[in-house]
């Protein structure tokens, strides 16, 4: 809150001052009108005056004291005439809930060098100070989850300590849980259960950038205290991925996209750093600069018209970069934008991903013989593709293939997890099943393609309009499955996830179609294996979002040490010894800050854990202003929502009148000065 008052009546007061102050000075320094008094003789009076002039400075001081008092009085009256006003935030009521946003965007240092969280804490403490006697308050801190840091209490010291204890995180903002927690705590307060009790005031200290605005509701008077300025600038990495080329796994392509959330267009340098993870010494990081680029970013807040206009002036945006490099080992890849001046949020200036070591897909084809499929499998750069007849498959269910393709065969059992492609078959006990008529699958004859999902990675750049199948199984597709190709009489290709497995079902026998003769067939197979590879660690564990709790399978822990009792987690601002539970998988605690975490001892597949913000909503530092999040409650970031207090009568009552009395006293009693 700006404590400086504003004035409603400035110009009349200025004019009055321009007249009154000089007039007072002139009148004061003009010869005083003196009352004439006859005396018997001026002999001694003149001598007294003469003698007193030795102490003239004190006399001047007394004379100037009256002038000073009168000037002050005049100034106060003129100020009152100008009708100064100030806006104040209503203080805490009887019951107050304090919600403080500690998400990533609150780390923006756009308030006189202090972060938004510092400002929120400051204002919250001021609110606590304004609590009346007997008032109660509680404090909830939230990011994408909510936490009660102080229950209902009237102890202002405890409340302030709780507020000070709130630490920033790099997590996103979700308000719904905070509101729900606040409501629950309110209901827990016996006072609130009485009838005719005013609902509590809920003070929300945030920049308003929450992801769940449309889902908010709360019983209470919400007062949103906007934190943050509209001039805050931020260049953020909003997307980062690193992908190994499926055909040449040592070749890595890194894609990064940036956004400018400031008010002005900028050019930013981008650097690529790589730290290979040496299998012999996986604990050591050694970052090397492997590339640089420049991005030209226009403000995200520009609308389309503005962008078009600027493009005509030659301001063309380039908001993404791509690097290609050779990596023969796993690595941590870091992309960083170097424009720090005016950047208020450092957490999104860099992002890192963990790239697993290059690996060729291992594929098993279960078939009694399929010339086209076998040719297609062998033409792809796979690691020892295997072909097995169904009987051999059923005799020993393999568990170490990345993808198993079933050709015209519905397996009786499947490995516990994996990626499966069915051509004219289906997996057992799946929710995705054929439509039956008297337990006989219904078949569709002469099926063409009605439409397909052109944006899906598997079908990208494919033309399927001339695909024709003589016969296809009619599928009962559950709602959670994804139909990739819709036939003229029913779905033809469905992607289904169930448990830890992914199932890509082609509802027809390719040998009963014209597909193998079309260009789209090998490409479909290529895309499918690539897509399946995402679930086969080709690009897995790239990065997590802040607050994630990665789970380490017990099997992997036991591979390190069967008797492992604890693991040390090291990361940004963190080093903790974590006990391992005696059974079940091991879940790490929430990783609240961006950066790279490491485990000691090194756990395979978890040598490094990268946590990135990569969130456009959090990186966009423009606070929500003029309204409360979800339009619930009143916003007091602007003057419209604050109470107006006229100060003129304060000036008169407590300034001018006492001064007037003092001046009168000085004047009448000055004989005693």
């Amino acid at each position: 809150m700006n404590w400086l008052p504003r004035f409603l009546n400035v110009w009349p007061a200025v004019v009055a001052a321009a007249v009154a102050i000089p007039a007072l000075l002139v009148l004061y320094f003009l010869k005083l009108r003196r009352h004439e008094l006859p005396v018997s003789s001026t002999l001694l009076w003149k001598k007294a005056i003469q003698d007193l002039q030795v102490n003239a400075p004190f006399q001047r001081l007394r004379k100037n004291l009256l002038l000073l008092l009168q000037l002050l009085l005049l100034l106060l009256l003129l100020l009152a005439l100008a009708r100064p006003i100030t806006f104040f935030t209503p203080g805490a009521g009887k019951n107050t809930v304090i919600l403080i946003d500690r998400s990533a965007s609150m780390q923006a240092a756009d308030i006189d060098g202090r972060t938004r969280l510092d400002e929120a804490r400051r204002r919250a403490k001021a609110l606590v100070e304004s609590m009346s006697r007997g008032g109660n308050a509680m404090v909830i801190a939230f990011d994408d989850r909510a936490e009660t840091v102080q229950r209902w209490t009237s102890d202002t010291v405890a409340l302030k300590n709780a507020i000070d204890s709130i630490k920033p995180t790099d997590r996103k903002s979700r308000l719904k849980q905070a509101y729900q927690l606040a409501e629950a705590q309110v209901n827990f307060n016996p006072e609130q259960l009485r009838a005719n009790v005013e609902p509590p005031d809920v003070f929300l200290f945030s920049d308003g950038r929450v992801l769940d605005e449309s889902e908010l509701s709360i019983k209470g008077n919400v007062i949103y205290e906007q934190i943050g300025t509209e001039r805050a600038g931020n260049i953020a990495i909003v997307s980062l991925s690193a992908r190994r080329n499926y055909e040449r796994p040592t070749e890595v392509q890194v894609f990064a996209r940036f956004a400018n959330y400031g008010p002005e267009p900028v050019n930013a340098d981008v650097e690529l750093w790589v730290s290979p993870i040496d299998p012999a010494d996986p604990s050591t990081d050694s970052f090397q600069n492997r590339g640089a680029a420049v991005v030209r970013l226009v403000p995200e807040r520009w609308d389309e018209q503005k962008r078009t206009e600027m493009e005509k002036q030659g301001v063309v945006a380039k908001d993404s970069v791509e690097f290609t490099l050779e990596l023969t080992t796993a690595a941590v890849i870091r992309v960083e934008q170097k424009l720090k001046a005016g950047d208020m949020l450092p957490a999104d200036d860099a992002a890192q991903v963990v790239l697993p070591p290059p690996k060729m897909l291992s594929v098993l084809l279960v078939t009694d013989g399929n010339y086209y499929l076998e040719r297609a499998i062998h033409s792809l750069n796979l690691k020892d593709p295997a072909i097995t007849p169904p009987g051999q498959y059923e005799a020993k269910i393999p568990t170490d293939y990345d993808v198993i393709i079933f050709d015209r065969y519905s397996p009786q059992q499947l490995p516990p997890s994996g990626n499966f492609v069915y051509f004219g078959g289906l997996g057992p006990n799946l929710k995705l099943k054929p439509v039956t008529d008297h337990n006989v699958p219904v078949m569709l004859s002469e099926v063409g393609v009605l439409d397909w999902n052109r944006d899906h990675p598997i079908l990208r750049h494919l033309s399927l309009s001339r695909l024709y199948a003589a016969e296809a199984v009619k599928l009962d597709v559950p709602i959670e499955s994804e139909v990739l190709i819709e036939g003229t009489k029913g779905p033809l290709v469905v992607l289904h996830r169930e448990g830890r497995s992914m199932h890509l079902v082609v509802a027809f026998d390719v040998m009963q179609s014209n597909w193998p003769l079309r260009v789209s067939f090998p490409m479909f197979l290529y895309n499918s294996l690539q897509f399946m590879a995402l679930g086969a660690e080709m690009n897995v564990r790239q990065s997590l979002e802040p607050g994630a709790t990665p789970r380490i399978p017990r099997a992997i822990l036991q591979r390190v040490d069967a008797n492992l009792k604890s693991i040390r987690l090291n990361g940004p601002g963190l080093s903790r010894e974590l006990p391992i539970p005696q059974s079940g998988d091991f879940a790490l605690p929430p990783l609240d800050h961006v950066g790279v975490y490491r485990l000691d001892p090194i756990i395979p597949q978890f040598e490094r854990i990268a946590v990135n913000l990569l969130d456009e909503n959090e990186s966009n530092l423009l606070p929500v202003s003029g309204r409360a999040p979800g339009n619930i409650g009143q916003a007091i970031a602007t003057t419209g929502g604050k109470s107006r207090l006229e100060l003129w009568w304060w000036l008169v009552a407590f300034g001018a009148i006492p001064l007037l009395l003092l001046e009168w006293w000085v004047y009448t009693r000055r004989v005693h000065l």
Partner: protein, 300 residues
């Protein structure tokens, strides 16, 4: 006596007070010779040989009257005083300048009352009494009066005096001293606020032939001025003005200056063998006459 005179006289002196004055007589530290034989005993060597008193030797005294026995004892020179009946001249100089028409009680009235009282005492004891009014010189004078028969005339004269004009103390004293060479008791009733200074005037009446009694009379308003604000003080005599802003320091300075002035006057008079007395018009004049003047040796 006319009724007017009776009425006027009643304002200055009332009969009860006058009855009390009958008990008093003019005294003098110096026994002085008079022109006529009166009820006063003089020191001058004359027909009487009755030893009366001693006094300190001053330069000019007759060495034949030095008491050498006292000198041998005390190593100081004293003159023997012999008693001889002789009249005593009483000169009363009253300041009737405009500055005396000031104060509450009024200074001029006070002076007139004191002068009337002293004149009455002098007359009833068959002393030669002269009352002269001073302002710009001697503005009025009674001439030599003697005896009770002249009381009404004296009081009437005094009562008719009006304060006016500026004060020229020096010229008034000089003129008076030249006109009255007979020695006597000289009582000066004034505020002594003369911008020309009092020294030149007093020089004529102090020492020598006169036994000087200087009575400085001021009003309470002059002693403790109760003034406030920004004032233009106007001198009642010469219309001189002084612009003042009354403050505590100014008042303090004024009082200090007044004290210094009075002290200086006292020292001047005393150094010349005179007697100085300060009074305020707030002191009842009968108290002044019956008590203070008796204490100081003017009356007995």
């Amino acid at each position: 006596m006319t009724s007017t005179a009776e009425a006027s006289r009643s304002l200055l002196l009332d009969p009860a007070f006058m009855a009390r004055l009958d008990q008093l007589d003019i005294m003098s530290r110096k026994i002085l010779a008079g022109k006529l034989k009166g009820e006063r005993r003089s020191k001058r060597r004359g027909q009487s040989v009755e030893f009366a008193d001693y006094r300190n030797y001053v330069v000019g005294d007759d060495l034949r009257f030095i008491d050498w026995n006292v000198y041998a004892r005390l190593d100081r020179l004293f003159l023997k005083l012999f008693l001889e009946e002789e009249d005593l001249a009483l000169y009363v100089l009253v300041d009737m300048s405009k500055s005396c028409d000031y104060g509450e009680p009024n200074k001029a009235r006070y002076i007139k009352q004191v002068a009337a009282a002293l004149g009455y005492i002098g007359l009833v004891n068959y002393n030669r009494v002269v009352v002269a009014a001073m302002a710009e010189g001697i503005t009025a004078e009674t001439g030599a009066l003697r005896g009770r028969r002249r009381v009404a005339q004296l009081i009437d004269f005094i009562d008719r005096l009006q304060p006016q004009g500026a004060s020229h103390f020096a010229s008034a004293c000089k003129r008076f001293a030249l006109a009255h060479r007979q020695k006597g008791v000289c009582v000066v009733l004034s505020d002594f606020f003369d911008k020309g200074g009092y020294e030149n005037g007093l020089r004529y009446v102090a020492g020598g032939k006169y036994d000087l009694f200087s009575v400085q009379i001021l009003s309470p308003q002059e002693i403790e001025p109760d003034l406030q604000g920004d004032l233009k003080l106007k001198d009642m005599e010469d219309n001189d003005t002084a612009e003042v802003s009354i403050t505590q320091p100014l008042l303090k300075q004024y009082k200090a200056n007044l004290n210094a002035y009075c002290l200086s006057l006292k020292e001047y008079v005393t150094r010349r063998g005179g007697t100085y007395l300060f009074t305020s018009t707030a002191v009842p004049f009968d108290t002044l006459v019956l008590n203070y003047l008796r204490e100081r040796g003017l009356l007995g």
